[in-house]
């Protein structure tokens, strides 16, 4: 009988601990997922927002920050975030894509292997931002983070 009491107590305690566990997103993911937390532009910088490009996993939209005709930063405004795998792939791919963009100073960069759709969306959105250089310094209202299921 004592064994039964022990088993019940251990089971209940285990369940309480298990159910109170909350998953956390890592700080790296939070950096990629930032939307309303865009850092304000420094004097002399202006930003252009590219169009939201639909991909199989969700839309990708970037904001290009330039100073004196030089790309100094690329912010990811929208990216696929429906599943944990989408977030993980973005974590891996976007830093690479941004780095290549700064090095190439254009949208003529390689796609990241294993993130074909995300890369494609990034490049298209980046190109549209670079093409529409007439936008000056203002940030248009950032759209909802909802996934446009582009044919999923």
């Amino acid at each position: 009988m004592r064994g039964v009491v022990v088993a019940v107590v251990v089971t209940v305690a285990g369940l309480v601990a298990l159910l109170s566990f909350k998953t956390h997103t890592s700080s790296a993911e939070r950096a990629v997922a930032s939307t309303g937390n865009l850092s304000p532009l420094l004097p002399g910088e202006h930003a252009v927002i590219g169009r939201a490009v639909p991909t199989v996993y969700g839309p990708v939209q970037v904001r290009v920050v330039e100073q004196a005709r030089k790309i100094v930063a690329v912010d990811i405004l929208q990216h696929p975030a429906e599943t944990g795998m989408d977030i993980q792939i973005g974590q891996y791919a976007f830093p690479k894509l941004v780095g290549e963009t700064l090095a190439a100073q254009s949208a003529r960069i390689d796609t990241v292997s294993g993130a074909t759709y995300t890369s494609g969306g990034y490049i298209s959105s980046l190109q549209s931002a670079l093409d529409g250089k007439s936008a000056v310094g203002k940030q248009s209202a950032v759209g909802k983070q909802s996934a446009l299921s582009g044919g999923a």
């Binding site: 795998m85 993980q88 074909t116």
Partner: protein, 434 residues
């Protein structure tokens, strides 16, 4: 009585598996990237497991048409086989998901496992569920069951329900088949909710309702032999239960020391509207206090169960009993109206129960009773051979044959009957490994 037989049950199960396979196929939108194939396999195995645990639970849900059509002994064997497969299927699911995700996210297996556990919703619960099921599987290995008392094993086995509940939500939170598909989620929810409702109804509510309706109590006991005792259980309107001779109930005697055990015992006589009788061999568990049951002890009786009852009571019948398997056959003997030959196989005369009744029934009904007593070495071999049986019961290939006993004996008897020419449809078997 409505019966759902093995063929229908297996067909329905296969149809469900086909539907699940379609769901899997439908949900693999693109197999993209290096981890794609691995992840897709993992997801398929996961869907199969999510369906398989429902089937495993339903096999044990004590649904009356299935119990009458397939039989509790066969259902238990199917459940055990499915359980073994599920351990492999779920382990494969875990392996392929971790591997596929690791490849897709360009991370190592260990770090991807950590990521899955800490950042993917409900995966930690599902992981605990996996280890619970592994534990249940380990305790069900033959080597473990030999060391465990039946009740200990049984109550540990109930953790399967907890595991299924813990793992449920991760299917919707992470499964590709469910993330985008509201219809698939709805169908899956219906599947689980209906299964849960059936369990609650047939395993909790019906026994409680029957207890209230029929008020089973122990009426008295009678010592039959040194090792066997008959227990008489009385109640009200027992005819409503519709128990056929050959069927059994699961009995829970609500008295100190016995209330936490449930025992399947066949009725050993035709039930009347007021009284049922079981005849029990007093072996095994030393804490079995069946002998000290007091009259007036309330009893929770679940049933009737069993696919083992005469479907053609007017036909010539051959009854083959091994050891304690005599009890359902003794009940059947009283109900069969055609000619009856009973063969009672036991290792020694001490194991023979209800002999006086059998002889009396034989005399009053003109039935033949043959006792094959003795160990195999004493008898010069296994007496359950086609030749022996055919000489005892000529024309047995045209008789309805009912076999009940321990697994080894029933296997030998069925083999002998078949080789003597009895077609499969006329051989009815009940054999329990408890």
């Amino acid at each position: 009585m409505s019966r759902v037989g093995p063929a229908v049950t297996l067909t329905l199960t296969a149809a469900g598996a086909a539907a699940v396979s379609y769901l899997w196929w439908h949900s693999t939108r693109t197999i993209a990237g290096p981890g794609g194939v691995l992840t897709t396999i993992g997801e398929g195995l996961g869907l199969l497991a999510g369906y398989g645990v429902v089937v495993a639970v339903l096999l044990m849900a004590r649904l009356p048409p299935v119990e009458r059509g397939v039989g509790a002994d066969r259902l238990a064997r199917w459940h055990a086989t499915l359980g073994r497969w599920l351990i492999w299927i779920i382990s494969g699911h875990v392996l392929f998901i971790i591997w596929g995700y690791a490849v897709a996210a360009h991370s190592g297996l260990v770090s991807e496992t950590a990521t899955l556990l800490t950042t993917y919703p409900d995966v930690l619960m599902a992981t605990v569920a996996y280890f619970l099921l592994l534990g249940v599987g380990l305790t069900s290995l033959r080597a473990a069951r030999r060391r465990l008392r039946y009740e200990t094993w049984y109550y540990l086995h109930l953790y399967s329900y907890l595991a299924i509940a813990l793992a449920f939500s991760h299917q919707f939170a992470n499964g590709a088949a469910f993330v985008d598909d509201a219809l698939a989620r709805f169908a899956w929810e219906v599947l689980y909710v209906v299964t849960a409702a059936l369990i609650v109804w047939y395993r909790l509510i019906v026994p409680a309702r029957d207890f209230g309706r029929h008020r089973f109590v122990v009426a008295g006991l009678r010592q039959e032999t040194n090792h066997t005792v008959s227990v008489y259980i009385k109640g009200r309107n027992l005819g409503e239960l519709g128990a056929a001779p050959g069927q059994f109930f699961r009995w829970r005697f609500l008295t100190r020391g016995l209330w936490w055990q449930s025992h399947p015992y066949s009725l050993s006589a035709l039930p009347s509207d007021e009284v049922m009788r079981i005849t029990v061999r007093d072996v095994g568990d030393p804490s079995n206090m069946l002998r000290v049951l007091q009259p007036g002890t309330p009893v929770l009786a679940e049933g009737p169960f069993g696919a083992f009852f005469p479907i053609h009571p007017g036909r010539a019948s051959l009854l083959l009993a091994g050891g304690v398997g005599i009890t359902p056959l003794r009940a059947m003997m009283a109900a069969l109206t055609g000619s009856v030959v009973l063969i009672y196989r036991a290792s020694s005369w001490q194991d023979v129960a209800l002999q006086a009744e059998l002889d009396a029934l034989a005399a009053s009904r003109g039935a033949q009773v043959h006792y094959l007593i003795g160990s195999r070495s004493e008898l010069g071999g296994d007496p359950l051979t086609a030749d022996t049986l055919a000489s005892i019961a000529p024309g047995l290939d045209a008789m309805e044959c009912y076999v009940c006993g321990p697994p080894g004996m029933t296997a030998a008897a069925v083999a002998a009957l078949r080789s003597a020419g009895t077609p499969r449809r006329r051989v009815h078997v009940e054999s329990f490994e408890f």
